[in-house]
Amino acid sequence: METFTGKVWVLGDDIDTDIIIPTEYLALKTIDEMKQYGFSPLRPELAGLIKEGDIIVAGKNFGCGSSREQAPEIIKALGVKCVIAKSFARIFFRNSINNGLLLMEQPDLYDDMTEGDVIKVTVNEHVEYQGRFYQIASLPQNLVDIISAGGLVKAMRKRNGLD
C-alpha cells in the first residue's frame, strides 16, 4: 500500500465550504485563479503557505455546507496530499472521491496533532505520529473503483471508450 510523509496544517470542527472557498470567487474561470482565496475567511494567509505534499488534519464534519465541488478541487490544487479528519460531510466526501482527493476518517489524531509536525501515512491502514499508530478505516469497494480509475471523469471516459 502507498506510504508518504507530509507536514501538517491543523483546522478545527465544522470547516464549511464557504470557508474553504467563498461564494464570490466561484465565478472565476479556473480553479487556479480561485485557489489563492482558499480558507480566506478563516486564515487568509494559509493558501499561500501550503506546499506540495502537505497534509490537513481537522476535527468533525469537515466540508459541511454547500455542494460546491471547487472546495475539494482547490485543496488538491494547493498541493494537499490528503485530508485526515474525525468525520467528513457527505457531499464533500463524495466530491473529493470524484476528484481523486484522498480523504481518511480517523477519530483521535486531531486531538494529539500539533500544526507544523510531520506525520507518516500508510493508505487504508494507519497514520504514524510521535511513535503512535492511528488506525484508518478502508473505503467501500465502489469508492475504491472510482479512485483506482483516477476519479469519476476518467471512470466515465473509460466507460465511453475514450481512454
Partner: protein, 415 residues
C-alpha cells in the same frame, strides 16, 4: 418487515425486492437541476467525459438564479455557456430570471411525490416537502448523471421526527428546523434521512414544510421527507397515485432514532454567528443592535413568509438607518404578493424589494455588509464571510422575527 419512506422510494425506483440501510444501489434520476454558477463546470466535465447526448433532455432543468441580475463582469459568461449547452443538447426547461431553483422545481411542477431528484446545490433536499427523495451533488457527479441517467447511492438510515400539537402564534416552521439543527448538531444527521410526521406537520402548508426540508442539509442530512397528503396533491396539481399515498413510515419500519417534540414547547429562536447549530431563544438575544434585515431565499422567501412579515410591518416604518431587503423566491410569488397588497405594505414600510433570486443569501450581492455590521436574515446559512467580511455577524430567524427586528432596529421578539 416495514419500510421507511426513503426505503420505499428506492425500492420503487430500483425495483429491488428488499432494501436496507447500507446497501449500495443504483437509482434512475426522475429529474435533475443545474443552476447558473455551476453550469460552466458541468458542461466542461460532461464533454470531457466524452458524452455526446443527454440521457433524457426533458428530465434536465437549467435555472439562472444566483447571478440574476449580474453584479460582476464575468457573470454573464455563465448565461452564455448555459444557453449554448441547453441549445446544443436540446434542453427545453431553462428559467433565466423566474426565481430561485429550489422554489421553481416544485412550484413549476418538475418534481412529484416519490421522484428521485438530484441538483448541483446542497439545498436540493427542499423537494422532500412533496415527498420526493432529493439531494445535492457536485458538478462532476451531475455530468455523469446527465450522460447515464443513473447514480450509485448508499441507502441511508432514517431519523423519525414526530411533532404533535398546535404551534404558538409567534412560532413559524423556521423555528422548528432551527431548534432541530441545534439539538442534532451540524453533523447530527450526516448520511441520514429525516422523516417528519405528527399532527403539527399534517397541519402545515407545503411552503412551511419546504422551509424544514430546505434546511435538513444544515444538520448534514442526505434528504428530508414528508408524507404526501391532500395539501401536496393540491400544491402539485395532481391526484396522488397508490404508490404516492403509500409513502408513509410503516409502523414496523426500522428507525435509527425517533425524536418527539410538543408543538407548544417551541419558541422563536435564532442561529447565532457563525454556525447554523448555535441556537438561542430570541428572548436571550433581545436588544442587540442590527444594521440590516434580509427577508428572502429558498428557505423563507415564499408568499406566506412575505405575508407574515407584512402582518408585522403594516402601517409601520423600518427603523432609521436600518435597511430591510426583501427578495421574493419567485416571479409567481412576487405577482401573488402584489395581488394581495403585500408589496404595497412592504414598500410603504420602506422595504428595498429586489428581483426574485438568491440575492444576499448566496453572498455575492443583494446587500453585502462590512466589518462590524449585523444582519438578521431568513435564509439558511450564517457561516463566516457568508454575507461580506468575516467580521459580519449573521443571525438566522423566521420572517416574523426578522420583520419585528427591522421595526425595532435591534433584536426583539415578534408580539
Amino acid at each position: 418487515m416495514g419500510y421507511t419512506i426513503i426505503e420505499k422510494i428506492i425500492r420503487n425506483n430500483t425495483g429491488a425486492q428488499t432494501v436496507k440501510p447500507g446497501d449500495i444501489v443504483t437509482v434512475k434520476a426522475d429529474r435533475v437541476m443545474i443552476h447558473d454558477i455551476f453550469i460552466p463546470f458541468v458542461a466542461d466535465k460532461f464533454e470531457e467525459m466524452g458524452f455526446k447526448k443527454l440521457w433524457d433532455p426533458d428530465k434536465a432543468v437549467l435555472i439562472y438564479d444566483h447571478l440574476v441580475p449580474a453584479s460582476q463582469l464575468d457573470d454573464t459568461r455563465h448565461f452564455r455557456i448555459g444557453d449554448a449547452f441547453a441549445a446544443k443538447y436540446g434542453m427545453k426547461h431553462v428559467h433565466r430570471s423566474d426565481g430561485i431553483c429550489h422554489q421553481l422545481m416544485t412550484e413549476a411542477g418538475y418534481v412529484k411525490p416519490g421522484d428521485v431528484v438530484f441538483g448541483t446545490d446542497s439545498h436540493t433536499t427542499t423537494y422532500g416537502c412533496v415527498g420526493a427523495f432529493s439531494s445535492g451533488i457536485g458538478y462532476t457527479e451531475m455530468a455523469s448523471i446527465l450522460g447515464t441517467g443513473t447514480m450509485w447511492i448508499k441507502v441511508p438510515e432514517t431519523i423519525k421526527v414526530v411533532i404533535e400539537g398546535k404551534l404558538p402564534d409567534d412560532v413559524m416552521s423556521k423555528d422548528i428546523i432551527l431548534r432541530l439543527i441545534g439539538d442534532l448538531g451540524a453533523d447530527g444527521a450526516t448520511y441520514l434521512a429525516l422523516e417528519f410526521t405528527g399532527s403539527t406537520v399534517e397541519e402545515m402548508s407545503v411552503s412551511s414544510r419546504m422551509t424544514i426540508a430546505n434546511m435538513a442539509v444544515e444538520a448534514g442530512a442526505k434528504c428530508a421527507l414528508f408524507t404526501p397528503d391532500e395539501k401536496t396533491a393540491e400544491y402539485c396539481e395532481i391526484q396522488l397515485s397508490e404508490f404516492q399515498k403509500s409513502l408513509t413510515g410503516d409502523e414496523d419500519g426500522v428507525y435509527k432514532k425517533v425524536i418527539r417534540y410538543r408543538a407548544e414547547d417551541f419558541v422563536p429562536v435564532m442561529a447565532c454567528p457563525s454556525q447554523v447549530d448555535k441556537i438561542k431563544p430570541v428572548s436571550e438575544l433581545e436588544g442587540i443592535a442590527i444594521d440590516q434585515v434580509f427577508i428572502g431565499s429558498c428557505t423563507n422567501g415564499r408568499l406566506e413568509d412575505l405575508a407574515a412579515a407584512a402582518g408585522v410591518l403594516k402601517d409601520k416604518k423600518v427603523a432609521d438607518y436600518v435597511k430591510l431587503i426583501v427578495t421574493p423566491a419567485s416571479r409567481k410569488i412576487y405577482q401573488e404578493a402584489m395581488e394581495q397588497g403585500i408589496m404595497e405594505i412592504l414598500s410603504e414600510a420602506g422595504a428595498i424589494i429586489t428581483h426574485p433570486g438568491c440575492g444576499l443569501c448566496c453572498g455575492r450581492t443583494g446587500g453585502i455588509l462590512s466589518d462590524g455590521e449585523r444582519v438578521v436574515a431568513t435564509n439558511n446559512r450564517n457561516f463566516l464571510g457568508r454575507m461580506g467580511t468575516s467580521k459580519v455577524e449573521i443571525y438566522l430567524a423566521s420572517p416574523k422575527t426578522a420583520a419585528a427586528c427591522a421595526l425595532a432596529g435591534r433584536i426583539v421578539s415578534a408580539e
